[in-house]
Symmetry: C2
Subunit: 531 residues, 2 copies
Amino acid sequence: MNDKTTPAPLKHVLFIMCDQLRADHLSCYGHPRLQTPHIDALAARGVRFSHAYAQGAVCGASRMSTYTGRYVSSHGTMWNFVPLSVGQKTLGDHLRPHGVRCALVGKTHVEADTEGAHRLGLDPTQGVGRLAMEGGFEPYARDDGIWPPGFKVQGNAYCDWLRAKGYTGDNPWHDFANSGRGDNGEILSGWQMRWADRPAHIAGAHSETPYTTDRAIDFMREAGDAPWVLHLSYIKPHWPYVAPAPYHAMYGPDDMLPVVRSEAERVDAHPVVEGFRRETVSRNFSRDEVRNTVVPTYMGLVKQVDDELGRLFAFMAEQGLDRDTLIVFTSDHGDYLGDHWLGEKELFHDPIVKVPLIVVDPRTEADARRGTVSDALVECIDLVPTMLDALGLPQPSEWLEGQSLRPLLHGHAGAAGKDLVVCENSFAFRDEVRLPLNQPVERCHMTMLRTRRWKFVHFEDLPPQLFDMQADPDELVDLGRDPAFATVREQMLGLLFDWLRQRRRFPTVAPDDIARWNQRELAAGILIGAW
Amino acid sequence: MNDKTTPAPLKHVLFIMCDQLRADHLSCYGHPRLQTPHIDALAARGVRFSHAYAQGAVCGASRMSTYTGRYVSSHGTMWNFVPLSVGQKTLGDHLRPHGVRCALVGKTHVEADTEGAHRLGLDPTQGVGRLAMEGGFEPYARDDGIWPPGFKVQGNAYCDWLRAKGYTGDNPWHDFANSGRGDNGEILSGWQMRWADRPAHIAGAHSETPYTTDRAIDFMREAGDAPWVLHLSYIKPHWPYVAPAPYHAMYGPDDMLPVVRSEAERVDAHPVVEGFRRETVSRNFSRDEVRNTVVPTYMGLVKQVDDELGRLFAFMAEQGLDRDTLIVFTSDHGDYLGDHWLGEKELFHDPIVKVPLIVVDPRTEADARRGTVSDALVECIDLVPTMLDALGLPQPSEWLEGQSLRPLLHGHAGAAGKDLVVCENSFAFRDEVRLPLNQPVERCHMTMLRTRRWKFVHFEDLPPQLFDMQADPDELVDLGRDPAFATVREQMLGLLFDWLRQRRRFPTVAPDDIARWNQRELAAGILIGAW
């Protein structure tokens, strides 16, 4: 990518992430019934990427990649609840030395490396120790949500806030924000999808998405003119699939995208795909009753995010913040919603790993590309480099495996996407998948490679998957065992081999320093083998 | 490897490492003239490994592998002076939580990750912060040596000790311990190899090797009965090649092993090998005058180490420490000394990467194998697992890539070596090699794979090297570009691909924990996709 000009840096970055949001559930990405005018307005002001890929197929792994600018194999958080090593550096670690705040409102799914903290004597409750446990984000208003019924929630700001508003009990997150009520006032838990068409038993303004938006507005008011990056990270439309009125009833089965699946997919399916299809969530989402109940509410949750973003953008415009703020909008992954006879996520079909990505750069250099769509292959690990670039900060290439999207945003001559994007996951954590295959936990790693033409998934000890993304964009025909495509599979294996060798395996020394090593040694007077 | 019995754990480990010691420069490894009776006695009491491989081809990378039990690509210290990330765990980090001291006497070549320390707010001068900067070793008497002439050495315990003994000046390490004197009293610096046949201008007992041994004895006296691992790490026979009397004159050219090289090796040589041959040290070691002056002194330095170890072992026997102490003796790599028209190290011929390894386990379970030679392929990353095993401590397999040698030491049925050993290096740091090839620093990584039959070295963008270790044990014929061996090279590439995919990429979660993940989720009440 060509990088001849260095425009004046911006002062702020608003880095918006939704959780489990499919790209195709936004009107700017083509949804015919779910109108998202505020997100569409972002696309009109910026560049919308039609081929942006997440690096993990579950929240934790995907987010750690996005936050570190590194592939899953490089940062080591291979799944949810796997601690992010204190040895990793995230966006905040790259910003802080330059005096830029990196604040969080909402979810990160960062799991603290308490073992690392203990080993290094860090105090995980304050200062840099706390930052290390928070993945480098100042936890201005962290909320990862997801409190199971019966769980006694303590010390959670949102639950405390709900209690102060009169939503009593151990777990108001569950009992009010994520549950409805039956005819006799009984709690209809959002953890059971059958209640997805009931409204949450909460005032709309008190539900999670508006609460999160309020905290973002609080932050912007308080932060003043100092440089900052705000990670505004909505937990919705992630399950539990429960929306407050009126969002619970805005859409019906007729508004849904048609389900993408075929009977042929179930014949002689890949054993790992079969494993995921055995899970409760997949069996349920394969039933029309479930889809008809759940998907409209999922759509309502997306609509609520869009409305709230409208409110936020109006506030920013009023404050003049739109002039010097880079805005990034994306998601951590999608949701099968029954496509391919699957629910949830974890595998590599486009509904999961192709995420929405819109970037608005307010500078004049970006004017020519405003409102355009880029079909370049890009990755979420490109976002940290893009944000650092926008703020005029250095890009430590010994850490970062992504690259700035600025050449694409500014329409540099020759700017192009990647030839290859990669996503990883492991089925080690899913007994339904792993145990019938008798696979050791160390050999459950899955690596997806996508080129312009092909999508290939490598498994250890099991056949690969292969899809022709041109002939079969819906990914209904797995060519992974088709003898006619042996050559393609060989080529994809070659790409995987190359990719593995190109990882940033040596993060404590910068390439530019290496190039000066010989001079350093000579300057220090170290003469090796002189006679 | 079979592991049916769990013998009573030992209390101590003495982990001896020499620097730049070739295996074939010990009499137990076959040197006909250089007698090393004390090291030979270790071999008689334990198992001597004839095919033990270092994981790095320079000090820093090799040692960080040995200390972490991880390959170079996994710990990220790819060369000398590259910081060991605070995110890595070493032997000491595995021992400390179990109340076992891990003390250092001598050299480690650990480079402090000051950037990581700063980021995490560690105090590098004390407590756990200091340990993190010392690679997890309690620096009881750290001394990495190597102070160039003219350097003002301050705060170095050995130099202070020398000054107290009357060796005055800014740099007594250089001026006395590593230099001789001319007829007019002028300093003949050990940094110039021409003076290697002169005695160091120091009393033998004040030279580095006895000083280091004294500190080890001090430690053992002070440590009392508490469990410990002592890393006794001699910097010799590493250059400067200067020995005190009488060691400077014990050997002559007739005592040297014949040089291993051929004229044919210089014809159409591999471009990276050619690059290293251009270095001063290689050009000098290709001259007989240089070898005849330097190698005898190198042998004298080895002899001095052996004598000092004899003194230490006598002390240990007197203290009864030999009964409950595992003893490991090894080196970080070898020294070309002119073999293959090369000096120093950095490449992968056996004189460099095949290291001496002797392990003495005093327990009765090891009796049957005492005094035997194992030709199993083993690696230095196996040493941390072996030491933890001997002390009865757990082996965190999410970190450790090596495996305990106990099955081989105790002669378990079916105990065998590895099918593959691996060593890595990068020529990015050597201008003479990299610049003529126009190779970017990121593409200078070299990976050696050795099986029972073959040794293969992979380069990026350049042809590989291939040696038939059965037909050509001296590695004089590089088959890397021979069309007759294309199939072998393909097989070796396949092994590299497999090896890369099997790295411990996810150090913050243990495989056993992963296997319990599903149960944890269910126990927490997280129901995904229930209807």
